[in-house]
C-alpha cells in the first residue's frame, strides 16, 4: 500500500524506465495514459519478483528477449471478433454503401493487435461483395503480436462469443464458414488474408501510412494521453481521403480535441466520423 512519497518515487522510476526503453528499443511509451501503464509496470515487477520499478531497468536493458516478451503486454488490448455488434451492423448497412462508390477501397486497421478486428472486417466485406476491390492494411508496432495477427489462430473457446457477436452484427451466414477448427484452436480461412497486408507501423513515431478510405482504430486511443491522441488523430486526418471514414472506440471521441470540426459525426454511439475538410 503506497504512501504519498512512495507514489512520487514510483512515478520517477516509471519515467526512467520508459526513457530507458525508448533509447534502447525505440518504443516510446512516455505519452501513454499512465494509470493503465502503471498497473502493467507494477504487474511486471511483481511477476519478475523485483522489489522496485527501477530494478526493471537493468533487466529490460540487458535482456532483449525479456523485453520482446513483455512489450506486447504493455500495448496490446484484448479484443474479440465483431466486438460491439451494432457497430459492425452500422458499418455493414451505412458505411459499406458509401465505400461502394469508390472503384478501389483502401482500409487501415490501425493498432490491429492480434487481428480479430481485421478478420471481422474481411468477413463483412466479403459478404457485402466488396472484398475483391479492397486492400486492407493491418498495422501494429509489436512484431510478435503482428505475427499472431497474420497467423489468424485463435482459441476455440473464444469462438462462442465471436459467433454470437457475428450473428448480432447482421452476419449473413455462420462464422464457422470462415475458420477451421483443430483441437482447441481455430485458424481463419486463408482466403480472408488475400487482400490484407500486415505491416509494422508505430502510431507514436511513424508518419502517414497510405491514403485510405476507411480507418478503424477502436480502443487504441484510450491508451494514449491527450497529447498523443491529438497527434494520432492528425495522422488519421492526413491519411484519409476527402470523405473518408474514421471509426473510433465507442467510449472515445473527437469532442474534446482539435479535430471536432474537421470531421462530421455519422453515428454518435459508435463514434463513426467522416472527414469533412
Amino acid at each position: 500500500m503506497p504512501e504519498r512519497g512512495d507514489l512520487e518515487l514510483e512515478a520517477l522510476e516509471i519515467d526512467l524506465l520508459l526513457e530507458a526503453i525508448r533509447r534502447q528499443y525505440g518504443h516510446d511509451f512516455r505519452d501513454y495514459a499512465r494509470a493503465s501503464l502503471r498497473r502493467k509496470v507494477r504487474t511486471l515487477a511483481a511477476t519478475l519478483g523485483v522489489e522496485q520499478i527501477s530494478a526493471l531497468i537493468p533487466r529490460l536493458l540487458h535482456e532483449p528477449e525479456l523485453f520482446s516478451s513483455v512489450v506486447g503486454a504493455f500495448a496490446t488490448p484484448v479484443t474479440e471478433m465483431f466486438r460491439d455488434p451494432p457497430f459492425f451492423r452500422f458499418l455493414r448497412e451505412s458505411v459499406v454503401p458509401h465505400l461502394q462508390t469508390w472503384p478501389f477501397v483502401r482500409i487501415w486497421v490501425a493498432g490491429c493487435a492480434t487481428g480479430e478486428e481485421v478478420y471481422s472486417l474481411a468477413i463483412l466485406l466479403r459478404e457485402e461483395g466488396l472484398y475483391e476491390r479492397c486492400t486492407l492494411f493491418a498495422t501494429d508496432f509489436v512484431d510478435p503480436v503482428l505475427s499472431r495477427a497474420r497467423q489468424g489462430i485463435y482459441p476455440l473457446r473464444s469462438m462462442k462469443i465471436n459467433s454470437a457477436n457475428y450473428q448480432r452484427s447482421g452476419g449473413r451466414g455462420s462464422l464457422s464458414d470462415y475458420y477451421h477448427a483443430d483441437y482447441d484452436s481455430v485458424i481463419m480461412d486463408a482466403g480472408l488474408r488475400e487482400n490484407i497486408t500486415f505491416a509494422n507501423h508505430n502510431l507514436v513515431t511513424d508518419g502517414v501510412f497510405s491514403e485510405v478510405h476507411l480507418i478503424l482504430c477502436r480502443n487504441v486511443l484510450i491508451y494514449f494521453n491527450n497529447v498523443l491522441q491529438q497527434r494520432v488523430l492528425g495522422l488519421f486526418h492526413d491519411s484519409l481521403l476527402h470523405g473518408g471514414v474514421l471509426a473510433l472506440g465507442s467510449k472515445e471521441s473527437l469532442r474534446h480535441g482539435d479535430f471536432a470540426d474537421r470531421f462530421k459525426e455519422l453515428e454518435a454511439t459508435w463514434k463513426v466520423y467522416r472527414k469533412s475538410d
Binding site: 512515478a11 495514459a33 493503465s36 502493467k40 467510449k251 471521441s253
Partner: protein, 217 residues
C-alpha cells in the same frame, strides 16, 4: 459494530474533522437496486464525485445507467475516456471496459485482460483511485456473489481512506461484502440508507476539485 461510525471516526482522527474528495462504489449481483438506493438518496449539492463499477453482461444494453439517472437528483453519466471528474456527478463504468483514474483526476478506460473474470474490475478502480486520492477517498462495496473489490478496499484503507460495506445480513448477495470485510476489517458495515447519510455527512466543501467549464457529458 463498535459504536457509531461518527464516533469511531472522531476517535481515529483525534477529533479532527476528516475531508473527503471522492467516493468509489462497487457492486455485482443485486448491485443495481443497491446502488440506486444510495444514489437516489444523494442531494444534487453533493460536493464530491461518485464513481460506480457494476458487473454486468456486455451483451445487455447499459440500461442501468439510464435507470440510475431517472432515480437520481444529481447527474448520472456513463464514463468516457479522459472525462474530467466534477463534484456532484455520478460516473458509471461502461460495460466491457475497465475504469481507472489518472493522477490528474480524469477518468481513463482500458480493455485490458479481465481481472478475476471481471471487466470492469472493482479492484482496479479502487486501487487507482486510492493512488490518486489517498486518505481523501471513500470506498464502498455492495452486494455481490464474488470477491471483487475486497483487495481494492484494503488498498483504500492502506492509503488512509475510509471503507464501508453494505452489511452482509441486509445484502441480496452477502459474499462480496463479506469478502471485503475479511480483507478490510476496519470497514464500516452499514445499511444502504446509512451509507447514503454518511456520504453526505462526510463530504468536503466544494474547493476540492476544479471542474473545467466544459463538462464532458
Amino acid at each position: 459494530m463498535e459504536g457509531l461510525p461518527q464516533e469511531r471516526l472522531k476517535g481515529s482522527q483525534q477529533g479532527q474533522e476528516r475531508r473527503f474528495a471522492a467516493a468509489v462504489i462497487g457492486g455485482s449481483a443485486g448491485g443495481i437496486s443497491a446502488v440506486t438506493a444510495i444514489v437516489s438518496a444523494l442531494p444534487p449539492t453533493l460536493p464530491l464525485p461518485v464513481i460506480v463499477v457494476l458487473h454486468q453482461s456486455p451483451q445487455e444494453p447499459p440500461a442501468w445507467v439510464d435507470y440510475l439517472g431517472r432515480h437520481a437528483s444529481l447527474p448520472v453519466v456513463e464514463a468516457e475516456d479522459k472525462m474530467p471528474l466534477c463534484p456532484g456527478t455520478v460516473y458509471c463504468a461502461p460495460a466491457g471496459y475497465h475504469l481507472l483514474l489518472e493522477t490528474n483526476g480524469d477518468l481513463a478506460l482500458s480493455v485490458d485482460e479481465k481481472i478475476n473474470f471481471s471487466r470492469p474490475s472493482i479492484d482496479l478502480l479502487f486501487s487507482s483511485a486510492a493512488d490518486v486520492f489517498g486518505p481523501a477517498l471513500i470506498g464502498i462495496v455492495l452486494t455481490g456473489a464474488n470477491s471483487d473489490g475486497a483487495r481494492g478496499l484494503a488498498e483504500i484503507v492502506g492509503a488512509g481512506g475510509l471503507a464501508m460495506v453494505q452489511a452482509p445480513a441486509g445484502a441480496e448477495w452477502p459474499t462480496m461484502p463479506e469478502a471485503a470485510l475479511q480483507t478490510a476489517p476496519q470497514a464500516w458495515s452499514l445499511g444502504l440508507d446509512e451509507i447514503a447519510d454518511q456520504l453526505v455527512a462526510l463530504s468536503m466543501p466544494k474547493q476540492g476539485l476544479n471542474c473545467p467549464a466544459s463538462k464532458g457529458a
